[in-house]
């Protein structure tokens, strides 16, 4: 596969047609070898599917881990032989050991936050939608794009291997604070498991950067004729800001990891000071464990918006298409995305209110954190108004988009408690935090992902996913998720700490044993429902009902103007020119209730 990528005519305003030369011209036809076509593919659509499938596999593993540790939490005095079947030495006699309970909890977080909700979500939809929705034949650098997947794949292999090392994988929480994560003496999981974790994450960061730089360049440089920035669908805007967040914050995370690698293996004291462990005083003086937290959360907070923003863009798109109405307040939605992006970089220390940092500094972060609630609120109101007086079609993607909004409201509002430092002093590291981030990341963002998968499945595979299964998936997951995480708020308010293996010995927390059992049972049901979704996904790729119309959802955006199964280069002839914004859901005078972006303005019609 040629590595020459020539981008001509980046100045869209002068009407130059943007063209990506990939080493062969459209009228020449040669078959690519299977390896270059499907494995080391440089086609953004194939890469999107690679990210999606890898993300799905990781999601099953991460979710299965949660089933196991919920069995421990729900039924601490019971044993489960099935755990020994799956986990061997980690669960001798059918009971999870504390070390491996913490390993599972750590890996569950790492896998789901990074490998599923970042790579699996941004990687899939940025790759799939950006070129298609802005009218480009592929990304700015298809080669770098291919690398971004394969770095992710390599990171995945290393992380997977770390599950099987003798001392176990990293087990200090997905946040891996030193000194716990820096010292082998502090925890078994801080041995080679932690080394593998760090290398895997370093590669993961590289993958994210390669992807993010690509997405930004493509959006800024390769829009088709007539596709001004203000005519881009909100999905693209959201993915654009997601990439900006990642490019600016992932390097800081990497620096934090590099310093940790140094502390672990090269005798430095960036994070270590005055430690007595394993029977001896360590030589480190002068480091600050809190430094790591600053470096980690400088990414950590933008990370949660990296997870949230694509879902917001997807929800905007799907709510609009299925309400047959423009997204309400297009410009306000863009401005609120800008607000969220800027503020995302300024609130990280709200994860650190109780570290002993200066109270004045803490107060600044309180102010900025509660400020970020404002653009989020604006988005919710705009989504609601989009549905107002719409003509709503309850397709499966639409239901997931509605669920996304419901969950975003629930999870977002509890953030207001946590952002207020005086409240956080009680709620920090309790189940209130667990409930908050699961509802907003674990479910709301996931619902955005599901909505996107069901909605663009026809574009990816030329078939529909089974909607009966989709409806079942939706209702059970929505109800189940609320049943799991809503009661956890109460546990948190009661001060019940997170990351505890067993509460039986605690006078203050043992009253929740039956509730914990109930939650674990619901977790198992919801887990199997996700397996049903996975089955639906894969079965529909080969056996799904075939798509017979080019634009099955009656949407206005450019991806529906390609052939049903777009080939390399997306459009067979010229790339279409865009004449209007992407939300003209109005009567076109021909019996349709929408006007695609490619339809020129009628005489006397005003542009939006």
């Amino acid at each position: 596969m040629s590595m020459n990528v020539v981008i001509e005519g980046s100045n869209v305003a002068h009407g130059h047609h943007v063209h990506v030369d990939t080493g062969h011209h459209g009228h020449e036809h040669h078959e690519q070898h299977f390896i270059w076509k499907y494995i080391f593919s440089q086609d953004h659509k194939v890469i999107a599917k690679q990210f999606l499938v890898t993300g799905i596999i990781w999601a099953i593993i991460g979710a299965l881990m949660s089933v196991f540790f919920r069995l421990q939490l729900g039924f601490p005095e019971k044993t489960f032989p099935i755990m020994e079947t799956f986990l061997g030495e980690w669960a001798k006699g059918g009971k999870l050991t504390p070390e491996f309970y913490y390993a599972l909890v750590t890996m569950h977080g790492t896998i789901l936050v990074f490998f599923v909700l970042t790579a699996g979500l941004s990687g899939t939809f940025a790759n799939l939608l950006i070129p298609l929705q802005i009218g480009a034949r592929d990304m700015a650098s298809p080669f770098m794009n291919m690398l971004s997947y394969w770095f992710f794949f390599t990171a995945s292999i290393l992380m997977f291997i770390s599950l099987f090392v003798e001392t176990g994988p990293a087990s200090g929480g997905w946040t891996t604070y030193p000194p716990l994560s820096a010292l082998k003496e502090a925890s078994l999981g801080s041995g080679i498991g932690m080394d593998l974790w760090l290398v895997s994450m370093a590669l993961f960061v590289v993958s994210s950067l390669l992807g993010g730089l690509n997405y930004i360049s493509t959006i800024l440089n390769m829009r088709t004729k007539g596709m001004a920035m203000t005519r881009m669908p909100l999905t693209v805007w959201a993915l654009f800001f997601t990439a900006v967040l990642g490019v600016l914050s992932f390097p800081v995370l990497l620096s934090g990891f590099v310093l940790l690698i140094f502390d672990r293996s090269f005798g430095t004291s960036f994070y270590l000071s005055e430690i007595f462990i394993g029977g001896k005083a360590l030589p480190h003086i002068g480091g600050s464990a809190i430094l790591y937290q600053h470096l980690f959360w400088f990414l950590g907070h933008p990370e949660v918006y990296i997870i949230m923003l694509p879902g917001m863009g997807i929800a905007s798109e799907i709510l609009s298409t299925n309400s047959r109405k423009p997204i309400f307040g297009y410009f306000a939605m863009i401005i609120s995305l800008v607000g969220i992006t800027v503020l995302a970089f300024l609130v990280w220390a709200h994860h650190m209110f109780v570290t002993g940092m200066s109270p004045f500094l803490g107060s600044i972060f309180v102010l900025l954190t509660l400020l970020i609630a404002v653009p989020s609120a604006v988005k919710v109101f705009n989504w609601l108004t989009t549905m107002w007086r719409g003509n709503i079609r309850f397709s499966v993607p639409m239901l997931f988009a509605i669920g996304f909004v419901s969950l975003f409201i629930s999870g977002g509002l509890t953030g207001i408690f946590l952002g207020n430092s005086a409240l956080d002093m009680h709620l920090h590291d309790t189940y209130f935090v667990v409930a908050h981030f699961h509802i907003i990341m674990g479910i709301s963002a996931f619902f955005g992902m599901f909505a996107g998968i069901y909605h663009w499945f026809p574009k990816m595979f030329g078939r529909y996913m089974n909607s009966t299964l989709g409806y079942i998936h939706f209702f059970i997951t929505l109800a189940g998720a609320y049943l799991i995480f809503w009661p956890m708020h109460y546990e948190g308010v009661a001060g019940m700490p997170r990351r505890y293996y067993d509460y039986s010995a605690w006078e203050s927390f043992k009253q929740f044993d039956s509730l914990n059992g109930f939650i674990s049972i619901v977790v198992i049901i919801v887990f199997f429902t996700q397996l049903l979704f996975v089955y639906n996904f894969f079965a529909s790729i080969w056996r799904g009902r075939k798509v017979t119309t080019q634009n099955p959802w009656g949407a206005t955006t450019l991806e529906w103007t390609t052939p049903i199964r777009p080939g390399h280069g997306n459009w067979e002839g010229e790339i279409p020119e865009v004449h209007r914004w992407p939300y003209d859901y109005k009567d076109d005078g021909n019996g349709n209730d929408f006007i695609p972006q490619t339809v020129p303005l009628k005489a006397g019609e005003e542009a939006h």
């Binding site: 099935i82 504390p98 070390e99 913490y102 087990s171 200090g172 929480g173 604070y177 000194p179 502090a186 925890s187 005055e274 430690i275 462990i277 029977g279 005083a281 600050s288 464990a289 809190i290 109405k325 309400f328 307040g329 570290t355 002993g356 109270p359 509660l370 604006v378 919710v380 609601l384 007086r389 003509n391 709503i392 409201i409 629930s410 207001i416 207020n420 430092s421 005086a422 409240l423 009680h426 920090h428 089974n466 009966t468 409806y471 929505l478 049943l483 109460y490 308010v493 001060g495 019940m496 700490p497 990351r499 293996y501 010995a505 605690w506 203050s508 079965a539 009902r545 939300y583 209730d593």
Partner: protein
Amino acid sequence: MSGIIVIALIVLVFVIIYQIAKASEYAAVLRGEEKVNAQVNRMMGWLLVVFFLLGMYGVWECHRLLIDKMLPASASIEGKGYDTMFRVTLIVTGIVFFATQAILFWFAFRYQSTGKRSSFYYAHNNKLELIWTTIPAIAMASLVAIGLKHWFAVTSPAPANAAVVEVIGKQFNWIIRYPGKDGALGKRDFRKINDANNVLGLDWNDRNNLDDIIAQNGELHLVVNKPVKLIIGSRDVIHDVGLPHFRLKMDAVPGIVTTLWFTPAITSAEMKKVTGNPDFVYEISCDQMCGKGHYSMRGTIIVETQEEYNAWIAKQTAYYVTATGGGAAEEQKEETSAPAAAAQKEQSVTMR
């Protein structure tokens, strides 16, 4: 073997569900897309309403079942502010929660496609945007103002008359150090730590250390209505002194000294009555992931009257005595004016 059969059965169930769903979809297509969509749409509209109503019932029922498991009134004077603030935030967010969720599910139901309606093209309204930007901003600003007032109060310097106690975390228990009669905690040096006879690495050259009392059972004794300042630290990794009944916590970081002050308001004995639980005890929970024993780092707090505290502390031996096994006996005999020695004379130090 049985595991394989179970997995095979689960896969079989999935295949069956999938085939049924697929068959019903094709049957629906045969019946005609339009009609199917209208039917399915109506059903989904109703299901969403049912979901919302069941959800609201669930919220109410969950509250009913769990409200009695919540904490009793704040055990610290400063924590009362937390309780008020929590309630205010709950009311504000609660109103928003119920209003927006109701609107969401109502709009979904009310504006469903019936085949006879059409949508209303309404793309923007700047006045609305301004209104619903300003109102949340004002609400957030108010919450910030209330919150920061409490935050600055809680993080202010401890009152001058506060008792001082040190709480040190290690894998996996709490070590409490009381300053003894001289009221001063002596210097620590991690290089002097020895788990046999100097768990905190006290520098015995510092006279302030000689009367310090160490409780390795993690039992913290406090006097009701007397402010206490906790000097918090860690020997190894980051821990956190979690005090749920007092609505406070503070990280314990190796190499960094953190502090937390509060005034206990309810004695342990009173709290037993308030909760109706004879086994009630204030607990210290470790609230920062610290390793495999994180869940077992349990400390206890005894809040008692001044007399009870005096009686208790009179019975404690200075760590120096137990650690050096008799060195203090010589100290006691010397007639020095050093405050530590004088203090030791006043205390009834007994060799246990």
